[in-house]
């Protein structure tokens, strides 16, 4: 069993290992400064207590259709880098089993199927790696 932060991205459910989660807050779209010319997944940068934090739309990274604008911001950390992930909302923090279901996405460590619900487990280092790769 491991602890995950469970989130909603569009209509889908995802979980992020708690060790990669620095904090969770409201998105505050007004505080996000767009960076013209950046790759489309990057919504911009925001000031997080003096740090310039890049904000990335997780729905765009995962290619999940989104009906409403994102409402929450989850600050994730991996390999010394931090990024704000724009999500729909946080569902909660929960102990869950290991991601037993295989899935083809390079951005997921796997998936968990329980009570008829499918939850994708996000592989934060890989997501960061994809964001660092050459611009799209």
């Amino acid at each position: 069993m491991s602890t995950y932060v469970r989130i909603r991205v569009g209509a889908e459910r995802y979980a992020i290992p708690v060790g990669h989660v620095v904090e969770v807050c409201d998105l505050d779209p007004a505080g996000i400064v767009p960076v013209p010319g950046a790759r489309p997944e990057v919504l911009g940068v925001r000031n997080l207590r003096g740090l310039v934090l890049p904000v990335v739309d997780l729905a765009a990274v995962l290619r999940v259709p989104r009906a409403a604008p994102p409402g929450g911001l989850l600050v994730a950390e991996s390999g010394g880098a931090r990024a704000g992930l724009a999500i729909d909302r946080v569902v909660g923090v929960e102990e869950m089993g290991e991601p037993s279901e295989r899935c083809d996405s390079p951005l997921l460590a796997g998936a968990i199927l329980s009570d008829g619900q499918l939850t994708g487990v996000i592989d934060v280092p890989r997501v960061f790696g994809a964001l660092e790769a050459e611009g799209s």
């Binding site: 989660v21 620095v22 000031n47 310039v52 050459e134």
Partner: protein, 684 residues
């Protein structure tokens, strides 16, 4: 000697007295124990400065005796060991030097002889070389040669000691200011000269060469602001001892790596945070002597201050062997993120104070804010019962930039002040081929809305909106915006890894009101490289040049977007020369330092339509890069021009086999030939 001498020599006597006092104190410490390298360094510096200033005020007698003292200290410095008897000899010498400075007595011949002998001994016998041979050396100080460590500390006779000059910080700051002024002046000079001369006249070349030298001068001046961490740590051991006493504890401060150099401004802003961390370590970390004894630790607590360079950053660690953070706190940190986030959470510290078991907490938030403001970061590690470690990672040099801020459609942007020639109000723009132009001092300058340059939507500009005339190389562009937001010195923060592929930004800055300003590269504004095409026809890549382009690229009428040229060259001078030739012919230019770098640029910049490359380069040479390009199905047909130092037949054969489209010898390199080849390969 001049009549002004009396004043000067009084200043000299005062300063020398201060330095001799300091030498006395240091030598007394040497007598009671083996001193660290810093003490020897300090002694050497004092003797050296006394020697130098004495020479300046015409006191050659003092200068030459100080030199003899310095010689001994230099030897000790290189040897890495301080023979104890030499301390008493040097104390005698300091007294003699004092008498000589005040003019009451000259040093005895006997003393001078002993100094000479000691200098010979500390220099002549590298430690561990042959201890037995140097034993009979006489009273001067052979007895200390027993140590086995520090092999290699002594340089050979040929190893030049690096001399240190003490210069008041204000002088360096003044130098930097003057250099910045000169850089600006050079811009103005180029501006007034440009109307009279063409871009390819010898005078224009001289101006460009001057710019490169100025850049080097500025870098050198900036490097002079680097100071060792030791400059701020002097009072700390005493402060730690006193703080411990007040709290009824025992603690000693152990310092390491204080020779690590950092920008003076960064260092000065660190004094307070470091003092704060030390206070926390002593008052919250270290336990009372009784508590420590019960826990099986020595009564006296140990606080460490360590500094070490880490690439372009420096790490400063404040560690203690005290009680550490309570296990519950560490567990909570594991749940909610990192320890540093938990302990710096506003309001958290007071909660921790109540239990008294947090071992940390007061004002950490303020420390973190200060470190962040310097562009650094902070980490905390703690082991319950064993201690806590706070690590600060700081930039070696503070990247301060004087910027002019302006706003457009609610967003704040900044450009380096040095690139802004002037600010004008837009009145009656003219048009050339449908593109707006602005008359600036009788010369047409392309005009563009910053929103269009960046490709963002924005409401129409007001009448008489301000425009910044920005200069980069020999190009100028007038950039219009809603309103100017003032001039400010800001700390440049990188946009970070996830925005690494986005070109055109110097970085970002957090302004006083918490807003983020995007700092724009003048060059990108002036040339439009790396910008997504804007919604309007006057996207920057199409901006017509203010001056008529040279013959090679004359027909600027039709092309929507000219292909960019990638210049690959490890020599900065050659690279900049080629860049300026190609840019003045109207081509957008990207540059790379070596083949690897070039492949990187090609991967992320699809507009590169031609490559000009050197052969001999570090990391990945030109021909290997060429083979990699040819092996890539998407770029197999990309035209590549190879520029080589000696175009031997063998080299040409290799180049042709690797797939070069054209050759250019560096020896016969002329800009018309380059432009002709480029035009041919691009089919113009």
């Amino acid at each position: 000697m001049s009549e002004a001498a009396p004043d000067l020599s009084q200043i000299f006597r005062d300063e020398a007295a201060e330095r001799l006092d300091a030498m006395d104190r240091a030598l007394l410490a040497c007598e009671s124990g083996q001193p660290g390298g810093e003490v020897v360094e300090e002694l050497f510096r004092h003797a050296h400065t006394i020697k130098g200033t004495a020479g300046l005020v015409g006191r050659d007698d003092v200068s030459s005796f100080a030199h003899e003292v310095e010689d001994v200290l230099d030897g000790i410095r290189q040897r890495g060991e301080f023979p104890r008897e030499v301390a008493s000899l040097l104390l005698d010498a300091v007294s003699a030097l004092r008498a000589l400075v005040t003019g009451s007595a000259a040093p005895s011949a006997e003393l001078r002889r002993r100094l000479g002998e000691a200098a010979g001994q500390v220099r002549g016998a590298p430690r561990g070389a042959s201890p037995a041979a140097e034993q009979p050396g006489g009273p001067g100080g052979a007895g200390a040669a027993g140590g086995a460590a520090a092999a290699g500390a002594a340089g050979g006779p040929g190893a030049a000691a690096s001399r240190v000059l003490r210069v008041p910080a204000a002088k360096i700051d003044h130098l930097l200011d003057v250099v910045a002024e000169v850089v600006q002046f050079r811009h103005r000079l180029a501006h007034s000269a440009e109307s009279g001369i063409g871009a390819d006249s010898p005078l224009a070349d001289d101006l460009r060469a001057g710019e490169r030298m100025l850049d080097e001068l500025r870098d050198t001046a900036v490097a002079m602001r680097m100071l060792p961490v030791a400059t701020i740590t002097g009072p700390l051991p005493r402060a730690v001892r006193d703080m411990a006493r007040q709290a009824g504890k025992e603690a000693e401060l152990v310092m390491a790596g204080t020779g690590t150099e950092m920008d003076r401004v960064v260092l000065e802003s660190l004094s307070e945070p470091i003092a704060h961390l030390l206070r926390n370590a002593v008052t919250h970390g270290i336990e009372t002597p009784e508590e420590r004894q019960r826990a099986g630790k020595p009564r006296r607590g140990r606080v460490e201050l360590r500094a070490a360079p880490r690439g372009s950053s420096a790490e400063i660690v404040v560690a203690d062997d005290g009680r550490g953070v309570a296990p519950e706190v560490i567990q909570e940190a594991g749940r909610s993120g990192s320890l540093v986030d938990l302990l710096t959470r506003p309001g958290y510290s007071t909660a921790g104070e109540v239990t008294g078991a947090s071992g940390r907490g007061v004002g950490l938030n303020a420390v973190r804010a200060q470190v962040n403001a310097l562009g650094g970061s902070m980490e905390i590690r703690s082991w319950p019962g064993r201690g806590t470690e706070v690590a600060l990672l700081l930039p070696l040099a503070l990247s301060l930039l004087e910027v002019l801020l302006f706003e457009r459609s609610g967003a704040v942007y900044g450009v380096p002040q040095a690139s802004v020639q002037e600010v004008v109000a837009i009145r009656e723009p003219m048009h050339l081929q449908g593109r707006p132009m602005l008359a600036v001092h009788g010369h047409p300058v392309p005009l563009a809305d910053i929103a269009d340059l960046l490709g963002v939507r924005a409401p129409r500009l007001q009448e008489n909106a301000p425009a910044l005339v920005i200069r980069s190389g020999d190009r100028r562009v007038a950039v219009s915006c809603d309103v100017l937001a003032g001039q400010q010195e800001v700390a440049v923060k990188p946009l970070g890894r996830f925005l690494g592929g986005t070109t055109g930004y110097l970085g970002s800055a957090v302004l006083g009101d918490g807003r983020i300003a995007l700092l724009l590269e003048p060059k990108t504004l002036a040339t439009g490289i790396g910008r997504a095409p804007g919604p309007r026809a006057d996207a920057p890549a199409d901006l017509p040049r203010a001056e008529p382009p040279p013959a090679a690229g004359a027909e600027a009428a039709a092309p929507r977007e000219r292909p960019a040229i990638l210049v690959v060259e490890d020599s900065f001078t050659v690279r900049e020369l080629q860049r300026s030739i190609l840019e003045s012919a109207g081509y957008p230019v990207a540059t790379a330092r070596d083949g690897q770098d070039a492949l990187e640029v090609l991967r992320r910049d699809p507009r590169v339509g031609l490559v000009v490359t050197d052969v001999e380069m570090p990391v990945l040479d030109g021909l290997s890069m060429l083979r990699a390009i040819r092996a890539d199905p998407d770029r197999a047909s990309l035209p590549v021009v190879v520029v080589t130092a000696h175009a031997s037949d063998e080299e040409r054969r290799q180049g042709v086999e690797a797939g070069a489209d054209a050759y250019l010898a560096k020896g016969s390199f002329d800009q018309q030939a380059l432009l002709a080849i480029v035009a041919r390969l691009l089919g113009r």
